[in-house]
């Protein structure tokens, strides 16, 4: 089977090329009845975006299944449980992500398994392949024995320091000649293009009008910059406030922006922060008092009072099922905690990818998305190697289509990578 790979910087149209070549392939080799294209991504946000892109392909007519690599891995392990056990992977739970992927990697090498996947999914599309760990790559490589693979990757956009050198990019050069895309398409703003190129090349990005680096030592100062930027350029635009780590600096800056006006009267602006679901679950759990062991009715009452209707409904539904199908009426705190976490992670899967308006997020959360206007908050606490910092800044800056401003907390950082 053939692997077709596209590499290149952010915004060079890797996804676009992925779609083009997939479409050309489908013209020559249409799907049979019951067959679908399998598309794997890392995060649920990119899953939805890829789903939308695939949905636009005329010759596919919606015959796609987009899922995250981890949930597909679990699907393999769940169905092929007895074979997985024979391969030495017994008793794996759905939340042991690394073991699930390791087992799925081993399963995908087995002829019956990759043929089984290929019978429904003759084609596999993988976006952001640089983020694949060895185990996840092993699953994709196993499937590549039988499936046609369309894959996009950019080594520089990999933010995990454990994946260097990058296993997926190394594998791609072994199995095919990846097509390198060099023409940026996301924006034609030269300042943004030059800044991105410089950061990637380890040079100093040039601060000017559409790409600007400003030093803001205090949170109120950063907040004022945010408000005046939003005031001037945020109207009717998609704006992202992006930071490598959402810590004291970014929180304080946003808090100031939400409570104050600048001297020129900009603000106050309340920008909602996109929270990771795990964090949201933890915060939710902190608000409720669960006994070590309790009966379903009192747990339901606690959750109903806690205010989050959707989580309350999910958990109460499960408690009901347990009572009806197992006559189980006593539950431990651990069971309820697990359910609440599950309920929050399910929410992430179904949340719509709304990109309208203004949002705050981490660099990781911004991956694979685009905004008209990006405000980067660069706190003093950014860690990691120079290379890692360049990657973080690159990933943040390349989200912008029209303009980008970087607010640097520490004056000393101005003369260090990634700014020099």
């Amino acid at each position: 089977m053939t692997v077709r790979a596209f590499t290149g910087g952010a915004g060079c149209g890797k996804t676009h090329m992925l779609m083009d070549s997939l479409s050309a392939y489908l013209d020559a080799e249409p799907l049979h009845t019951g067959q679908k294209v399998l598309a794997l991504t890392f995060m649920h946000g990119s899953r939805r975006r890829l789903e939308e892109r695939l949905g636009m392909l005329q010759n596919l007519r919606g015959k796609t299944e987009c899922t995250t690599i981890d949930s597909f891995a679990w699907r393999l392990v769940r169905r092929w449980r007895s074979l997985a056990a024979a391969l030495g992977f017994a008793n794996i739970g759905p939340t042991e992500y690394e073991r699930v992927c390791e087992a799925a990697g081993a399963l995908a090498q087995v002829k019956e398994v990759h043929n089984w996947v290929a019978a429904t999914f003759p084609i596999l599309v993988v976006d952001e392949a640089q983020d694949m760990t060895v185990n996840r790559l092993s699953m994709v490589a196993g499937l590549a024995n039988k499936l046609e693979i369309f894959i996009a990757a950019d080594e520089f956009q990999c933010l995990s320091e454990e994946l260097r050198p990058n296993p997926a990019c190394a594998w791609l050069t072994q199995v095919c000649a990846p097509e390198e895309l060099t023409q940026p398409r996301r924006t034609n703003v030269d300042e943004l293009l030059n800044a991105a190129r410089a950061i990637r090349a380890g040079e100093a990005p040039k601060s000017a009008k559409f790409f600007m680096v400003a030093q803001t030592s205090t949170a109120p100062l950063a907040g004022a910059w945010i408000n005046s930027n939003l005031n001037w350029y945020g109207g009717g635009k998609r704006v992202a406030i992006i930071t490598p780590t959402h810590g004291t600096f970014s929180r304080a800056a946003l808090a100031w922006a939400a409570a104050n006006k600048t001297k020129k009267g900009a603000g106050p602006y309340n920008v909602a922060w996109e929270q990771s679901e795990a964090k949201a679950a933890t915060e939710y759990l902190a608000t409720i008092q669960l006994a070590d062991q309790a009966d379903g009715i009192s747990i339901a009452a606690i959750l109903a009072a806690a205010g989050d209707a959707r989580t309350a409904r999910d958990v109460i539904e499960w408690l009901e099922t347990q009572r009806r199908t197992r006559a189980k009426v006593q539950f431990t705190r651990d069971e309820v905690v697990k359910l609440v976490e599950h309920s929050f992670s399910q929410r992430r899967q179904s949340r719509r990818s709304d990109v309208r308006g203004w949002k705050g997020m981490t660099v990781h959360g911004a991956k694979n998305r685009e905004f008209d206007n990006v405000i980067v908050l660069w706190p003093a606490a950014v860690g990691g190697s120079d290379d890692q910092k360049r990657r973080l800044l690159y990933n943040a800056v390349t989200r912008a289509k029209e303009r980008c401003i970087v607010l640097v907390q520490a004056a000393a950082h101005m003369s260090r990578p990634p700014f020099t």
Binding site: W80, Q322, A327
Partner: protein
């Protein structure tokens, strides 16, 4: 495709059960050994929804299901082309079954093919639970991936089996309780499917009939009898409504559906009279249904499709003359058949290795093939006779609660001959605490192979008893049986030095003068005494004509009849291990000895 085995848990009378099937199994067994349960379990897994009866609490073992109780049935499907999952990708792919390998010698399913003889298979499962809130049974049919305890209701939902695959298997069940009225009609599902499968829809004729009914040559409403009435109606109508339509009377709803539903089969005899099917005898009516099934099978076979059929008790639907032919036709046209029967005759038509003897003890259902493997050319003659020539008798004995292996064929014949006329005698059965004919089946032991026959039967029946003579050879048999690794449930012997003919003598002594007088025809000289009769019987073994006149004489002589009943009921008690009779008493070794 073929169902290789079926695992049942908590379904009806079966707490747990495992049965392996060949291509055309014939399932026999006593009442309440689980024949119907097995067929219904197959239907749960393989049947189209309308074939599956709605389950109730009584479908759960013990009839009182608790929330965590599940009915669980798992079937292994095998015989896929070349054992290659890629050639059957409609079965083996994402959202369908996972690949597994079946070891047919054990029925076990493995995730990896470690032996080239193992066959590709997939497992289909059904689970059901009773919901105490809605008081209804919830059922799911799914691909059974592994044996780990995962609950499809409380844990993650398993991959459901799509209706399309169920249709592809084309499992059809003819229930024993089925009524066959209106078979050749579009109101009948089987008929519709058959017509569809054979691509035989008579659309031209149906449309022509519809048009004729819409514009009849001689309209009913125009008949001079009814015409004035219709005319009045029409004029009244015209006064109430402007542009009122006119009343017409037509047969049927005059669309093709009503025409199809109005069709009714007739049978034209040689005398030229055509009589509707509903007025025919039930034999012919049920025959129609089976013929239709054959047609469906033929159409499926012609298109290379599957046709799996379960036929419950064909003897209920068919006259004996048609049984063999039809069962064989059904088998020839089907991919796999499951026939259940109470009739040793139907069972004996099948290859003895295909006959499965069902057993159920303490809720555990199992099945043993009547014959393990085909008899080799070197098989001894007695064995060949036993499994082939005598198999109707052996099968019929196997269906009784206890099975008696006598020392020789003469015992079998005498017991049977005496029993038969006795059973006709009114009120006879009431005189016995244990009715022998209902509780005990006797097999025709060949060449005094009581020990070997006992071993053969032990695999097939839980309660095998042996009956030996009171002579030296008999005592020796009794000793050997006693020391067998798996001794019989009961060892019974005639009193010292005696054999069955002596026991007959004891019966005759119940009214010696009368009964001996009825036996003038026996032998060249009329016997003068019981002793003479016994001597004659011992000298001329297997004189069936003599046995029959003897039986007749006993049945018509009350004194003897009482003794015969006493003896047979005592024998039945001994077989059941019941000490209420004094006619057979256990000796120091536990052997039941006849007490004349």
């Amino acid at each position: 495709m073929r169902i290789a085995n079926l695992k049942i848990e908590n379904f009806r009378g079966v707490r747990t059960g495992f049965v392996q099937f060949g291509k055309h199994p014939v399932l026999v067994g006593d009442n309440n050994t689980g024949k119907t349960t097995l067929i219904e379990a197959l239907t749960l897994v393989l049947g189209r929804d309308r074939l599956v009866r709605e389950l109730t609490e009584h479908d759960f073992f013990g009839s009182n299901p608790q929330p965590a109780d599940r009915i669980k049935v798992v079937a292994a499907v095998t015989d896929f082309p070349e054992d290659d999952p890629e050639q059957s990708s409609q079965w083996f792919r994402d959202e369908r079954a996972v690949v597994k390998w079946l070891d047919e010698s054990t029925g076990q399913v493995h995730p990896v093919r470690n032996n080239p003889a193992w066959k590709l298979c997939c497992q289909l499962g059904v689970q059901a639970r009773f919901d105490h809130d809605s008081l209804a049974v919830e059922t799911v049919r799914y691909f059974h991936d592994h044996d780990d305890p995962i609950d499809p209701f409380a844990d993650e939902a398993p991959a459901p089996v799509p209706g399309k695959l169920i249709q592809e298997l084309s499992f059809y069940l003819v229930r024993a309780s089925r009524t066959w009225d209106k078979v050749f009609s579009w109101g009948n599902e089987l008929f519709k499917r058959t017509v569809l499968a054979a691509a035989a829809q008579p659309s031209g004729a149906l449309l022509a009939e519809r048009d004729r009914l819409r514009a009849p040559a001689q309209p009913i409403d125009a008949d001079p009898g009814i015409q004035p009435l219709i005319a009045n109606l029409n004029s009244e109508l015209a006064r109430s409504f402007p542009n009122a339509p006119k009343v017409q009377l037509r047969l049927t709803g005059t669309d093709s559906r009503s025409v199809m539903e109005a069709v009714s089969a007739h049978f034209a005899g040689n005398d030229g009279f055509s009589i509707p099917a509903g007025r025919q005898g039930s034999g012919l009516v049920s025959m129609q249904g089976l013929l239709l099934l054959l047609e469906l099978g033929r159409a499926r076979a012609a298109s290379g499709g599957e046709f799996l059929m379960a036929l419950e008790e064909p003897e209920v639907h068919l006259p004996p003359s048609a049984q063999q032919r039809l069962v064989q036709r059904v088998q020839a046209l089907s991919t796999q058949t499951f026939v259940t029967t109470h009739s040793p005759l139907v069972a004996s038509m099948a290859d003895p290795t295909a006959v499965l003897i069902l057993k159920k003890h303490d809720g555990v259902l199992s099945a043993e093939p009547f014959l393990d493997t085909p008899l080799p050319a070197a098989a001894p003659n007695w064995k060949r006779k036993f499994f082939q020539h005598s198999r109707v008798d052996v099968l019929s004995a196997l269906m009784q609660p206890a099975l008696l292996v006598p020392e020789g064929r003469a015992d079998f014949q005498l017991l049977r001959c005496i029993l038969r006329p006795l059973m006709m005698t009114e009120g006879w059965i009431d005189t016995m605490p244990r009715p022998f004919g209902i509780e005990v089946g006797v097999v025709p032991t060949e060449d005094a192979n009581v020990i070997e026959t006992h071993r053969l039967m032990q695999r097939l029946h839980r309660r095998v008893c042996c009956l030996v003579d009171g002579d030296a050879a008999g005592l020796d048999y009794a000793d050997q049986l006693r020391q067998d690794a798996a001794p019989p449930s009961a060892i019974i012997r005639w009193n010292n030095g005696a054999m069955i003919e002596d026991a007959i003598g004891w019966i005759l002594n119940g009214d010696e003068p009368t009964v001996v007088g009825k036996l003038v025809e026996m032998g060249p000289q009329p016997p003068a005494s019981t002793a003479a009769v016994v001597a004659y019987l011992k000298a001329k073994k297997m004189d069936i004509i003599a046995y029959e006149s003897l039986a007749e004489a006993i049945a018509t002589t009350p004194g003897c009849r009482v003794r015969a009943a006493d003896l047979l009921s005592g024998l039945a008690c001994a077989c059941a291990g019941d000490v209420t009779t004094q006619r057979f008493v256990r000796d120091a070794n536990g052997v039941w000895v006849f007490q004349p």
